[in-house]
């Protein structure tokens, strides 16, 4: 059985790393924005509810 694998070039590895870091930062920023806006919009009511 033969499997084809990919061996990226130096340029591709560097570019992929750059993209991965950017995606990670964007995701963290998105989570922070959604979290902070939720707190601002709901305020103290976020914990003031019946269970």
């Amino acid at each position: 059985m033969q499997i084809e694998t990919v061996k990226p070039t130096e340029v591709q590895i560097k570019a992929r790393r750059s993209r991965s870091i950017a995606i990670a930062l964007a995701l963290v920023a998105f989570v922070v924005v959604v979290y902070v806006v939720s707190i601002v919009r709901l305020g103290p009511a976020v914990i003031d509810r019946s269970f």
């Binding site: 059985m1 033969q2 499997i3 084809e4 694998t5 990919v6 061996k7 990226p8 070039t9 340029v11 591709q12 560097k14 570019a15 992929r16 750059s18 993209r19 870091i21 950017a22 924005v33 959604v34 902070v36 806006v37 601002v40 919009r41």
Partner: protein, 314 residues
Amino acid sequence: MAFVEKTALEDGASGMSEATAGDFFALLKPRVMSLVVFTAFVGLVAAPVAVNPVIAVTAILSIAIGAGASGALNMWYDADIDALMKRTAGRPVPAGRVKPGEALAFGLVLSVLSVMALGVLVDWLAASLLAFTIFFYAVVYTMWLKRWTPQNIVIGGAAGAFPPIIGWAAATGSVSLEPVILFLIIFLWTPPHFWALALFKADEYGRAGIPMMPNVAGVASTRRQIFAYSLIVAVVGVLPWALGYVGVAYGAVAVALGAGFVWYAWRVLRMADSDPVMRPAKMLFAYSLLYLFAIFATYLADKVIVRALAMPGV
């Protein structure tokens, strides 16, 4: 003996992307985005409603990403003609750094994300307007008007003019005449701004087959139309003061800035058709950028100062 043999694809034969994060950022047209951010910010701050700073930042961020997404879609669709023009040949797609499919996916994902974020976190009217703006720029302007009519940037200018209305809607949840006046300033500013560029880049636009006004109607007709639009821009720029939205200081600055616009347009009107350098057109192009920034900055300053003076204890 191994049951599995591995064959490595080397030297880029794998087709793996070599696009860096910077290339994707360039797809967002950051310079255009900065103008969008600024005018949307003015619309948001000028609105007669106090907005929570976190909500304001979220709104501006969403609008900026939406504008960037439409830029990415534009670069995906226009890669063929961008490759033919010196000004745009270095863009990520025509330069081969980003594949067309990557640019398309990037633009679509960011379009959906920005509209959803603006809607869920800020306001749905603002989100609807942002969605319409992205559609107008990417589909109506890029795919239809740009290659079809010399009125492309006249009608397409609406896309660039919407941000102050979106900013206003994000703050108030509604739209009134005041942000529409801001829309009109950008909308009417667009033709003289881009036709000044089209005059001294006519060869490039001609090579790419884009029907810009100088290539279709000729240089003389374009110069006359630039002057006519400049007169209208100068008048509309004063409207916010004439309608009582801002004070006399803004009115004075707007009159002076408008007079400057007309002066530079007059010099373009007097420019010889055969002028190879077209310095007056280049100067009008540069001045038009200054004009838009200055008139919105003055508008913003008037609003902020008046509001600060109206605060109790001042």
